[in-house]
Every structure is written in C-alpha cells, then in structure tokens.
Symmetry: D2
C-alpha cells in the first residue's frame, strides 16, 4: 500500500455506540477514509445530528443499506455494527453481490459468526442461522490468538466484549497448563454502554445511577462463545460460571476470575505465564505485583490490563483484568483486525492514551 492510497471503509449501523466509536477512532486513522455510513432509521441525517460530538468533522451522510450497490460502491472494508441476527443476512448479500467482481473484506461486530456450531447458535440466539455456508470462512477475531488467520481472512467475527477480556486473561494460563479447566468462575462488571443505546427502562439514568445490578445470571449469551474459545486453549470442553453486573459508569469492563492452579503451580508461575504473552503483544499489559487493574486505566483506549493474585483458598488464584468494552471489547479490536487484514502496523490509529479522569 502506498501512502497516497488510503483504505476506503464503510460502517453499517453507525448510529449505535459501537458504530460511533468506530467513527471516532477511524477519523484520525492515518490510512483510512470513511466512505460510507448507514443507519436505517436515521438515513439522510449526518453523524453530527445524532452524535453532536462529531460536529465539525466531514463525514458521509447516513444512508440505508438497501440503497447501496455493493458491486460498484468504492469500499475496501466493511465494518458491520448491526444487531445480532441482522448481520448474517446483510453480509451474505454483500458477498453474493460482489462475488467475482471485486473483493470486499467484512469485519462483523455482531455475534452472528462467532459460534462455530450452528446448533449452539440457535440454542442461545433463538433463530436458525441463515448464512451457515459463510461460517467456515469466518475467522474469530481475537487478534492476539488468530492473527495469522485474520491476515488472509475476508470475514472476521469480532469477539464480544466480555469474551475479549476473559479470553485474553485466561487463554495464556490454560494454554500453558497453569490453571485447571474446571471450576472457572467469572464475576464480570460492565459499564452501561455494554447495553447499547436502546430505550429500555433498565438503561435510564434514574435506574442505573447509584445502583449495582446483576443481570443475565446463569444465561448470558456470551457464555457459549467464551466456553468455545477456552475449550480450544484447554484442549477439552470447558463449562464455566459467568455472572455479569451493571455498573453506574459509561465505559469499562472489569472481570474477576476465580481459578484453580494446576498441581505444583504457583502464583509466580502464573505471572510468568501472563508475562510471556503480554510482553509480545501491543495492547496487553501485565501490571506490577501491587497494582490492581481498574477500568479508568483503559477508558477510551485499546489496552487490556491484567494481574494475578493469590487466593485465600489453597490452590486457587484470582485473575483480574480490565478493558474498555467499546474499544478493545469492540470497535478498537475491529480496527486492530483491519490493520492486520490490510497489512498495516497493528497499532495504527489505536495509540490513544486512556482518558483519565
């Protein structure tokens, strides 16, 4: 790629928080031109009409997906930030219309292509998958673990926010046989953007502020995805406990994982195991022994921070990690995948320092 040829990107579903964070990050990405934005109900408006913090930025008018001719539209990469179940149809259509004519790469931020088993998909999401043929083509976009496959992929399924935090924390430990694959208990806490911009009573300021609420206990849809990927690292089927909680803050996700050490392993072994992975990754940091991961360390940035502690129960350890759910847990990770797919420096456009306070 030469300097004067920028990547042309489109964002489908730009009126949600994930879509808008893609725009925020891509506006200043040195190798990208945002060429296409869609939002069905807000078509005809500008991003600044919907998100006034974009005032002053020159962006395409919002369009409807149905009005795009995929065979001719000048776009190299599509970010698909549409609701679950909607994505699969749209993406199938894009590939069909462009087949043999041009190459478009699709980065999907929904759950539609994350699960390898269509039955599991149906059981957790309630509908038949309508693009099963595309599934083998989809690469699970946890960049740190599927980088090589992502490089040549034309369809990447970005992980959910909880899976991202959990997998980055536990995969290094499982792969190195440092912790057991059984009895993994994860207590997760997320900011309210995790629930999107939908008009639900439970998302009102008055309901969330000054409050701490668990939700989806025992049946959150991120579970099968987490188990699928932990099982890969453990090389055996993992069933884990996962309980998310809603925190009165906008951004940020903290996971506290209670795990069992493998025989003869120590906390120091776990630290070393995490260090091996963190040291070679751009966006993963193992904190010092006395530091605790906190969401304010990563607000607005693509970073992941982690640490591990001795539990009071013998043979157990506590692994704590934090990410920004909208960045590393969603839009930032999607751009990281784009960088890999397009042969760019993986950090390109993702060097923002966290905004604190």
């Amino acid at each position: 790629m030469t300097n004067n040829k920028k990547i042309k990107v489109g964002i489908l579903g730009a009126s949600g928080y994930t879509g808008s964070d893609l725009v925020r990050l891509l506006i200043n990405h040195p190798n990208v031109d945002i060429k296409l934005l869609t939002a069905e109900r807000k078509a005809g408006q500008t991003m600044a009409d919907i998100f006034p913090h974009f005032i002053g930025h020159d962006l395409p008018i919002l369009n409807k997906i149905g009005e795009i001719d995929w065979a001719t539209v000048e776009v190299d990469v599509i970010f698909c930030a549409l609701p679950h179940a909607t994505s699969q149809e749209i993406i199938k259509g894009i590939f069909e219309q462009t087949s043999g004519k041009k190459q478009i790469k699709v980065i999907d931020l929904s759950a539609d292509f994350r699960l390898r088993d269509p039955d599991t998909y149906k059981r957790w999401y309630g509908n038949d998958h309508t693009a099963i043929a595309l599934q083998p083509r989809a690469i699970y976009g946890l960049t740190e673990y599927y980088r090589e496959s992502v490089k040549s992929a034309d369809l990447v399924a970005c992980p959910g926010c909880y899976p991202t935090a959990i997998l980055l924390a536990l995969k290094p430990l499982l792969k190195q046989d440092l912790i057991k694959s059984e009895d993994i208990i994860i207590d997760a806490k997320s900011g309210v953007t995790g629930a999107g911009r939908s008009l639900r009573e439970s998302n009102l300021f008055t309901e969330v502020s000054e409050a701490m609420n668990p939700y989806g206990v025992g049946h959150h849809r991120h579970m099968p995805e987490i188990e699928q990927e932990l099982s890969v690292s453990a090389e055996s089927a993992v069933t884990m406990s996962f309980t998310p909680h809603l925190v009165p803050m906008n951004r940020g996700e903290l996971i506290t994982a209670y795990v069992k050490l493998e025989e003869n392993k120590t906390i120091e072994d776990l630290r070393k195991g995490l260090a091996v992975t963190c040291d070679k990754e751009h966006f993963m940091t193992l904190l010092k022994e006395d530091q605790m991961p906190a969401t304010r360390m990563v607000r607005g940035s693509n970073n992941f921070v982690v640490n591990v502690y001795k539990d009071r129960i013998k043979g157990r350890a506590i692994v704590i990690a934090a990410i920004d759910n909208l960045v590393k847990g969603s839009s930032g990770q999607a751009i990281q995948n784009m960088n890999v797919m397009m042969g760019l420096d993986e950090e390109c456009g993702l060097k923002q320092v966290a905004l604190f306070p």
Copy 2:
C-alpha cells in the same frame, strides 16, 4: 419502660458517615432522645456545621470524649462509632468509670470486639488488643443470629458491612446443610461510603467516578470475621475467598457468592432454606425467582434482599444479596440491636422505605 421515659443515647464519633447515619435514624426514633454527641476535632461545632443536612434539627453540641464524666452523664446507651483500635480503650474506660455506679450499655460499631480470638485480632489489625478482659462479655451483634444473647448484653459488637451481607445470605444455607463449607467464593461490590469520610486520593470523585476498582484482594480485614461466623454455622473451620470492589455510588453493597451444593440438594432446596429464615425475620426478604437483588432496593433502609440461582457449573449455586452498607451494614443494625437490648419492638425507628430513585 414507660411511654414517657425515652432512652437517652450518646453517639461517640458523630462526625463520620456512620455516626451521621445513626443521628439521621435516631432523630425520628419514637423512643429515643439523643443526649450526647462527640467528635474530637470538631468539638464545639454543631452537627449542622459538619453535615448541613441536619440544619433545623435540635441536637447537642459536639463534645470531646475526654470531657465526659461517665459516672454522672445521663445516658442509657452509647453508640461507639470510633475508628478501629480507638474503641477498645474508650469502652474499657466507660465500663471502669461506671462500674458499681450505674449501668450503661455500649453498642460498638468498630471491629474491636468482633473477633473472639485475640491472636487473630492482632494478626489482622496489627496491634495488641488492650481490653481482652471485655471480649468474653461482647456479643456479636448479628441480630438475626444472636438475638437472645443481645437481649441481656451490655456490650454488643456490630458486624462489619460485608460480613453482615455475607452471613445473612450464607448462614441459613450452611446451618441447614444445604451448601458445602469449602470453596466458598465471594465477589463483593461496595459504594464509596464504605471507605468513610477520610481524605484519601482513592476516595476523590475524580478517581472513583466512571471507574470500577478492586481492592484489598486476598487480604481484606473483614475476612477473619466472616470466616469466624461461617465456621459457627458450618460447625467446622471455613476458609473462603473474598474480593471486594469499589463501585461509583454512595451507598449500597452487593455480594455475589459462588457456592457448592451439598449432595442431592437443589436450587429449590436452597430457596426453601432461605425462605425459612427470611419469613420469620423483619428485615430479610427472599425475592421472587425472577427478581435480582440490587442495591437500589435497599438504599437508606435496613432491609436485606437475597436470591439464589442455578450456576452453569454442575453442583454449584449463585447466591446474591444486597444491603445498604451504612444502614443494615452499620447504623441501622446497631439500632436494631439497641431495640432488642432495651425491650423495644425490633423494627422501631427502622421502617424507612428505601429512597429510589
């Protein structure tokens, strides 16, 4: 006690949040007169000078403890809301000065008389206990479990806020052999008042707001107290895992406990076991099956809400409970104990509905 003879109470350490919540609740207690308030550094000021929400209420001027003659002061009950380690000396002095002259009852809200074993106290709090002789006299003031002893006590040690929530949730289950005493993992979340009014960087709005922080991982001082009391119910030594987190809210505490079912026990058994206890208690509520405990249900009130859920890991259950850390977790529970000690209706002065939103 006749109707026209109110209980005269004193509050030592009235300038902290625990002290001020005692005042808030006792002002409207129908059987109480607040006769004495102390605050060393603020002596000479009024409560309204320090806490302007008391403006318009007629309260004693703040005094210094050293200026009180315990043998003659007209007080029936002392609430001691002083820092840990300070309480023991003061309470020893009160009992010495009043011995043989008058009877004063002391309700201590600090940690000084919670631990039965002086060695455990020293190990966790770092100093020798200076009133060991008083320890056997101190009743652990978890009213629901020590009501009979509290009735005749003249020294009650109120539980910490985390222990209150955890013990009310798990003691019924352990006592009825519904859960195992091993491998109990507790993930706790607390509002910022849990840290008091002290000037620490970690308590600043800018550090806490829009953030989620774990703290005291593996070594929080409430641990030995929780284990002591869980062991009583389990009739064996319990060692548990406990990880607290700081949430950007003022009041409220949520605990998520990951426990193992005893053989052949089901979630329905656990529900029934909790119901047995909750049904006979004023301040304990088992929620309906599909409801989730949340701190907003109990803000400003003396209530405890709990529920139990099936875990995805076979043989495990998730128990979730919420209290207001300043009320049921501290000042409200102290008044509940006073009611029991003075032969009043246990709910007296504690009927406030939670403030929501």
Copy 3:
C-alpha cells in the same frame, strides 16, 4: 378526627416516580391508609413488581382508573399523579360521579389546574382545557402562601418543582419590596427524576452521565406558572428569564436567581426579609451567611434551603435555593397540602432527615 380513624387515600398514576414517592412517604404517615393505587399499563401488578424497593410492604394491587366506582369507593383523598392533560378529565369525572353523594378531596400534581388563565394554558400546553368550570375551585397549592385557602379546598393544584423552589425564594422578597420585579434571571439545575420515567434517549444513563445539558431554553412550560405567581407578589406583571439545565444526579433542584435590589435596600435587608418568612415556616431554612445551598442538604426530605449573596454588579443580588424536586417539589408538598386540608399537623409524616451521602 380521632386517632383510630385514618385518612383513606388513593394515588392515581402510582407507577411514575412522583407516584412512587407519594407511596414511600405515605406508607409511614401515621394518619394515612393507602387504599387505592392505579397504573393503567401495569394494572394487576403490585407496586413491588414495578418498584422492587417496596418489597415487603403491604399495598393494594394496581388498578385501572376506569374500573373504579367513585361514588362508592372508600377514599377520602385522591392524589392525582397523572400526565398533564389527562388529569383534568379524570378529576372532572371524579367530582361529577361523587357530587351530592360523598365528599372527596383531590390533590393534583399535574399542571392542569395551576394556570388561572385558560388561554395561557392553551398557549403553553397546546390543547384546550376540558374542565374550565373546575378552575376557579382549584387552589394553587404552594402551602406557605395559600394555606388558608388550602384548608377548605377540595381541589388543590400542586406547583411544579421549579416554581416551588423559585417562588419560595423570591415571593418573600417581592412581597416586601426588597427586589425589583423586572430583570429577574433564573438559572435552574435539576436532577434527572424531573424528567420522569419516560423512555427517551435523553434520559439514558449514557447520555446524562458525565454531562451537563441545558434544555427548554426560553420556552419551558413552568414559565407562565412562575410568572403568574411572581406577579401576584409583585402586584404587577412579571416577565422573567428562566433556563433549566439537566444535572447527572437523580434528585435535587438548585436555582440561582439573579435579581436587582430595590432602591436603598441591602443584602442584609434581603436576609432579614427571608428570615421573616423562614422563621415561621416548618420546611424553609435560611442558611448562615457563609453556607451555600446544595441539593445534598435536602435529598429525600421536604425541606427548602435558601441564602442570598451580594453580586459583583452594583445593585444586584444572587439568591440561591435548593429542594428535592420529588419531595418538596412534588410528592412531599402534596402531602403537606393534605395535612392542611385534613386538619393535621403540617409536618405530619414529613419529618424525614435528608439522606446524605
């Protein structure tokens, strides 16, 4: 009224925040029995289903208004917490159905009977008033100024939250000719409960949190009501400037009023003028000279706090006041009116101390 005969009350529209705060306060009112609760879309449910903080309280099941036979229902007082424009029809129906059969007193918390001039009503609310005949009967329920009329009223129109704070602050000064009636500028700040529980994007946590938003600049519906009542005190037509702002908090309203001193009047005169009124009122407090009104002083309580300061511009003063918008600004004031209408002590059931922190 004898002790053993409690006032039977009904609350129409109990599923909103105003309705639920009426319930919170009336549950512990010593002279009240809640006999009737309505909520159209939630009929058949319990208050605890909708507002889980009421769990454990014995309350009537939610009903539909259309199913109530007003001629026979055993209710002495109706609180009407329905949306603007709905109230007038319902209240007209109540009076028609009970006329000549029984006496029911109605306390309306909507805007429907606040404006004396039907044309003004239509201009600001957009619809014709459908119960004009009832308007002369309606007493404006700013208790401190219409107490005598409220005593014998059977229809009381409770002021809006902003008008309450503004009128209590400025009426004493206008009536005593201490400030000029021209060029009154009011900058108001309100918590989010002021917007109710409606599902609007602007009420989402993510939109309000960490943000400060003005709204309704130059055209808020509370304006004509404020001007109507300021004009009464000024004995001349008042036109004022009023700009509300939304603050990321649940409860509380702060108004900052920029006013001109009358000739030869001083700040000290204004203090004295406010003191005259505050000293004789239960719920009004003039702060000390160096104290500043703040919403945390009144959270959850029926109190109003005020102070006055010298402005840097010669001849100008700054008057600052705070209330809890849901209590003194709505439900608490409604109960205060009920107390007056039913011959009870005005403070009855309204002695809650503010909840701080």
Copy 4:
C-alpha cells in the same frame, strides 16, 4: 523545522490533572518529544506509578525542579503546570539561568501572569507578585485573540478554564458591538477536575456525587481575569456577575451567559457575529439553531461549542457555551499556543474527537 528535529518539551508539575492531560496529549503529538517531567513530592517515580493509565508508555522519570540545570538541559519549551504563586518564582529562575545562553519558551498554566495589573493580582491572590519585571513580556494565551503576539512570545500565560469559555463566547459579541458591556451575568457549571487532585473534603466522591453545589459566589478568582479581557473587547471597564457551580462529573464546563442586546440588534445578528469568528477558527463551532451546547460534545477534545438564544425578557439574549476544562480550558490550549509559538499547524496533535459516551 525538519521532520527529524522534534521539539523537546518539559512539563513542570506533572502529577496534577493538568500535567497529566498535557502528557496524554503530547505523547501522540507528532512533533514533540517529552524530555523532562517534574513532581516534587513524587520525584523518582514514573508517571505510570501515579497515573496507571500511562502504563506502557515510555516517559522520563519524575524529577525535582531544583535538580534541573536550566542552562544545559535540552528542552525547547517548558509547560509550567504548578500551583499559583509558585510559578512566578520558578519561571523567573528559568529565564535568569538561561539568559544569554539559550532560548527557552515558557507556557504557564497558572494564574501568575494572567493579570496585567500587579495590584489586582495582589488583591485577588493575597500575595505580592515576585516577578513583576516579567509581566510585560507575558502574552495572554487566548490563542484566538492573541495569536500574533503568541507567535513571537517566550512567555505565554494560558487563560483559566472559566475565562476561556466565557471570553470565546462573549468577546466576538462585544467587539462587534452586538451586546452591551453592562449587566453581563454568567452562571457557570464545572466538572470536578476543575478543583484539581487536592485532598479536600469537598472533592470526595461522597460529597460531590448526587449533588449540585454553588461555590465562590461573588468572589471567584477568575473574575478579574475575565473582566480584564472583556474590557479589552468592550473598550470600557466591564464589571460582571459570575457564579460557578460544581457538577458531579469529571470533565467539562458549561457557561450560561445572560446578556443585553445592543440597540436594534437581534438574535440573528448575534448568530452572524459568532459565525464570523467561529468560521475562521479551528476549535470554535457555532451550533445549529436548535442544538444546545453540552459538555459531552467536547469531552477530551480541544473544541469549544456555542449557541445563542432569545431570552423571554425583551432585549436580552442567552449565550451558552461548553468546553472540556482540562483541554481547551487548560492543557489543550497550552499546546495550541505551543504550536503557534513553534510555527506548527495550530491543530497539530489536537485532533482528538470527543469521547462519548
């Protein structure tokens, strides 16, 4: 300046929020190398020790100012983020030690060089100014109005946060004779970072959260600075009313200004007047007629947004503006000045989109 010669900058007082936001922005500034960081009490530590969100960034160890040899240290520009009254001594020392040896440019973020009149300085800040000789050399760094002087300055005094928002909003209107210079009333609202990281009770989460507090009514130290600069634009002495309020949010400042139109001027004239200025400036945006400035539009960015509305009082207008107090109100503006002083594009390193939500 060639590409391979970056500007070497030092930041004095890097452990405050202003200092840390300078670091956040300068890390990614393409023409800057951070060469020197100081923090007296934290000397020897890293930025990441104090502000863990800097983990992973390579930055100089914190130093003490006294240990720097200004004559030899390799620094082109010094940002001075020290407390008021401290700055003047340090800056005097820097210029004395470098005089005749090398040229260092100083950008001061304190109040020390903002006021032109030493008597005014003394009256508002309480101490004699100790570097009066430097004052004529100091350029007031409101870039949009002093750009030409800033270009050649070696000492720039950056405006306070409130002055920045107020002056950018009102100077265009005063200069173009669109509003009167008398009776300007400003109601300001600021996030908590405006108070810095100091350990004061009023900055605790528990005191600020769920609260709205006015402060410094009638005597805030930004007043003389605002009046000094408004007077320049009005070409006559301006005395204005200014009342700041503390809002429970981290970043952001909203000012609501109540002003009088000049004879025969309309709101449309004011809009046009603001448009003239905004259109030619990088960081100033006049919103559409129906949009309202809100702090979330500028969180973390160097932008200023403004709008103007008709007041209900005849002849008056309401001007509302918002900035991020730490960026455009402090660190961002300082970097904007550096860009001008060093001949860079004024937007360089300041293109961050606001972080929303």
